[in-house]
């Protein structure tokens, strides 16, 4: 477990240092703030998908869930003029319900996770577009909107979800970082210190074995999907307030791939039973760092995807090789 985190940390530091050397402005407070902020947003989402991957499942729908939650939230606050906290509560409830449906279809109806969540990807995206008639909208109402009377409350929320807290003279801590911290620590404790976390690892490795040990594997799997969708929902709220703009057809598109890539790069095995929250969070940061570096160094944006792909591939390959080398050394010792 430790070895995985080592590899990805080295990668993080290496890209960091190289970028800082090429363009020292990379290190300025404003850029660091942004880097932290984006890493947190994607990190929250990636932690969710890590839960599912640890059980040996997959969730392709999170990008669409992020989109739908952002759309519905903005729809409630801006068009319906609903009480903002109620709106937050309802959207979170919706994301929990989505996770529950996934879990039930997977465990009770025995449909494969890939299929269930692929259909989810299509359906939720469509729902969001249909609900808003495909209009862009933001969660913070503008003058004349229905929700305008709740403006103070909404601006409070805006601060909670996308504000900045001044630390010292020049550095402002973006609030999403706090979300990430709390969620990551809670997730880490859940996975490593509670019986339910242990059950998730056990069933990801050997589902029958876990069931034979008296574990309610179905309930645990459903829990994992609920956590995943709920974190995607929280990420959706964070994104909505961060961007102030939600596009039903676009917001969240492809995010499932980023999240899965982060989970894998961070040491989760898609076969299940493996992975740590720390690794996933670092990996999510690495991906954001790569984007930032490409812009900082001034490489053509056409190449962004390609560089990201190469780094993930080489990262996973390198990890594989480190593992092999370690095994070989252990062998020759014994």
């Amino acid at each position: 477990m430790k070895k995985n985190v080592l590899g990805i940390t080295v990668l993080l530091v290496a890209i960091f240092v190289i970028t800082a050397i090429i363009n020292p402005k990379f290190l300025n407070a404003y850029n660091m703030q942004n880097l932290l902020k984006w890493s947190s947003l994607y990190g929250v989402m990636s932690i969710g998908v890590a839960f599912v991957i640890i059980t040996g499942g997959i969730d392709l729908s999170i990008g669409s869930v992020v989109g739908l939650v952002a759309v519905v939230l903005a729809f409630f606050t801006k068009i319906q003029g609903l009480d903002p906290w109620t709106a937050i509560g309802l959207t979170l409830l919706m994301s929990v319900a989505i996770g529950l449906i996934h879990g039930l279809l997977i465990t009770k109806a025995k449909v494969q996770p890939f299929v269930v969540t692929l259909c989810g990807l299509l359906i939720y995206r469509s729902l969001g577009r249909w609900l808003t008639d495909n209009q862009s909208l933001g969660p913070v109402p503008l003058e004349g909107d229905e929700g305008y009377k709740n403006l103070d409350q909404i601006q409070g929320l805006d601060f909670i979800f996308s504000g900045k807290i001044a630390l010292g003279d020049s550095f402002n801590l973006p609030t999403p970082v706090l979300f990430l911290l709390v969620i990551a620590i809670a997730a880490g404790i859940f996975l490593r210190r509670t019986i339910w976390g242990r059950y998730l690892y056990a069933l990801g490795n050997n589902e029958d074995g876990a069931r034979y040990s008296g574990i309610n594997t179905d309930a645990m799997k459903i829990t994992a999907y609920v956590i995943c969708s709920m974190l995607a929902g929280i990420a959706g709220i964070l994104f909505a307030f961060e961007l102030d703009s939600v596009q039903p057809a676009q917001t969240g598109e492809f995010y499932e791939l980023y999240a899965i890539a982060a989970a894998v790069l961070g040491g989760c095995s898609l076969r299940g039973g493996e992975g740590s929250i720390l690794g996933v969070v670092i990996a999510a940061a690495v991906i954001r760092l790569i984007y930032n570096s490409i812009n900082m160094v001034g490489i053509s944006t056409h190449l962004e995807f390609g560089i990201l792909g190469m780094v993930i591939l080489l990262g996973v390959l390198g990890d594989e090789m480190i593992k092999k080398a370690v095994t070989r050394r252990q062998l020759s010792k014994s």
């Binding site: 210190r193 019986i195 242990r198 876990a210």
Partner: protein, 502 residues
């Protein structure tokens, strides 16, 4: 009918069906307090199925189940545990990614509102590991242990439930002699403590040693019970197969022919420090004995090209040979019936026909096109020659019993007509009837001039079948014994690394 209060556990008229199979046709079974009940029967008789029902793993279709004289209806494993019934599965069911302590208490962690109390867990786990003779750190990752040790962990896990009824489904199939003895001590200790045990095994010797009573199943039905005084090899066999079995090991000596396999100092990855040399002649049956983890499977896999050798050389009929994969070994005339037939021997979701013809497809080249007629022929021949019990050739291998599955494996290799047939634990988990057929077959094909190399952890089998035996210890060949030199003592001596007594 009132239930006798004296029975701790009683099952009456249980039935259970699976797609295409009626596994239990109304069987009954009863267990007294502090009793060791042995349950025996041929492969597929329904032993494991019944045990899974008793332990709440799966429901029965009909029938009654009493615990302490009360009718119960178990929904899941937890329910069974709450009644004090724990099951050690026939197959390993550990989470290989977790450590020993986690596995032993999986599902029953010592916790405070969900938070695991690691320290308490570890010290408790340590106790249970000691009980089964495992002195390992509790944070050892389970998957890193050899199978035999993992089996002991399973037993420790079941013991930790503090069950009133402990069901052991073939617990010794992958244990060494020494580990088996430890287990016997444990079982006897349990009996003294008033804990009841249901013990399933195909090793009738063990049954004789342990059981207070024997219940026999045949084809999903009760075939009879034996009281302690009536338990002996022949009576058990008679109830199991419905008739007497003549001479078990029917070996004739043959004049060995030319050297088929000549291994000179090969090194396998698991024991890089040990070089192994051996010879097998045509028409010869050569055994490889040793304790579990001695490196026997590794050796066979190296010869078969699964894990290519790191050094040394081999010859097949005098031609140098160094397989990098099983394909190369098969092309050189070697066949391997692996230890784990479900994982390595068969493609379970494919039909008997597809399995039987699979290795032959590449040989009977027809520009790559399948020859369905030929396939049919090969499969039919295997079914006839091996007496495989299957409704038809389309049946999935998954639905056949262990013995019949092993026969498909042998059948598919005999169709290739190899020079050397390698068998790894050929009768593990296989009932007496099928065992005898496999022994007969070994005798027959050796008589026809095929070289046979087999690994076995069953002393009797080695003594009964081998013309010559290599004994392994920690990856080395610690000795070679001719048929005259072979005895239980001489083999054990070499297997434990000691010198051969003069």
């Amino acid at each position: 009918m009132p239930t006798s209060e004296s029975f701790l556990l009683e099952a009456k008229g249980l039935t259970k069906s699976f797609p295409g199979v009626l596994a239990l046709k109304g069987v009954s079974l009863s267990l007294g307090k502090g009793e060791v009940l042995a349950l025996i029967g041929e492969n597929g008789a329904g032993k494991s199925t019944l045990m899974k029902i008793l332990a709440g793993v799966q429901p029965s279709d009909s029938g009654e189940y009493f615990i302490d004289g009360k009718l119960v209806s178990l929904q899941n494993v937890r329910d069974a545990l709450s009644y004090g019934v724990a099951l050690i599965h026939q197959e390993l069911n550990l989470a290989s990614n977790l450590d020993l302590a986690a596995n032993i208490f999986l599902g029953r962690e010592i916790n405070n509102r969900g938070f695991i109390n690691e320290d308490a867990l570890r010290s408790e786990a340590q106790k249970h590991l000691k009980r089964v003779g495992l002195d390992l750190p509790t944070d050892t990752i389970t998957g890193n242990l050899p199978i035999g040790k993992q089996q002991l962990v399973e037993i420790a896990k079941a013991l930790s439930c503090n069950a009133r009824v402990l069901i052991m489904d073939e617990p010794t199939s992958s244990l060494s002699q020494k580990e088996t003895e430890t287990l016997f001590e444990v079982v006897k200790g349990l009996r003294t403590d008033g804990i009841s045990v249901i013990y399933i095994s195909h090793r009738l010797g063990e049954v004789k040693e342990l059981a207070d009573r024997v219940t026999v199943f045949r084809d999903g039905e009760n075939a009879g019970d034996l009281a302690k005084e009536d338990i002996n090899h022949d009576s058990m066999v008679r109830l199991m197969v419905g008739r007497d079995l003549s001479e078990f090991y029917d070996r004739k000596s043959h004049d060995p022919g030319d050297i088929v396999l000549n291994v000179k100092g090969i090194i396998s990855p698991t024991y890089p420090a040990a070089a192994v040399s051996m010879k097998v002649r045509a028409g010869e049956v050569v055994g490889v004995a040793g304790l579990v983890g001695a490196g026997r499977t590794e050796l066979l896999q190296t010869i078969f090209g699964v894990t290519p050798a790191l050094g040394g050389s081999m010859q097949i009929s005098g031609v140098a040979f160094c397989p990098q994969n099983p394909k190369a070994a098969i092309e050189a005339g070697i066949a391997l019936a692996p230890e784990d037939r479900k994982l390595h021997g068969l493609i379970l979701p494919m039909s008997v026909r597809d399995n039987a013809s699979l290795p032959s497809l590449g040989r009977d080249q027809n520009k790559g096109m399948l020859n369905f007629g030929k396939e049919e022929e090969i499969a039919n021949k295997a079914v006839e020659q091996m007496k495989i019990k299957t409704p038809n050739l389309e049946q999935f291998a998954r639905f056949l019993s262990g013995g019949n599955q092993q026969k498909i494996v042998l059948g598919k290799w005999l169709a290739m007509n190899p020079k050397l047939l390698i068998l790894d634990e050929p009768t593990r988990g296989i009932d007496v009837g099928a065992k005898r057929e496999i022994y007969r077959l070994m005798e027959k094909i050796a008589g026809e001039g095929m070289a046979i190399l087999f690994v076995s952890s069953e002393m009797e089998e080695v003594l009964g079948m081998a013309d010559r035996t290599y004994v392994m210890h920690e990856g080395q060949i610690s000795g070679e014994l001719t048929r005259d030199q072979m005895s239980e003592e001489s083999i054990m001596q070499l297997a434990t690394g000691g010198p051969l007594a003069a």
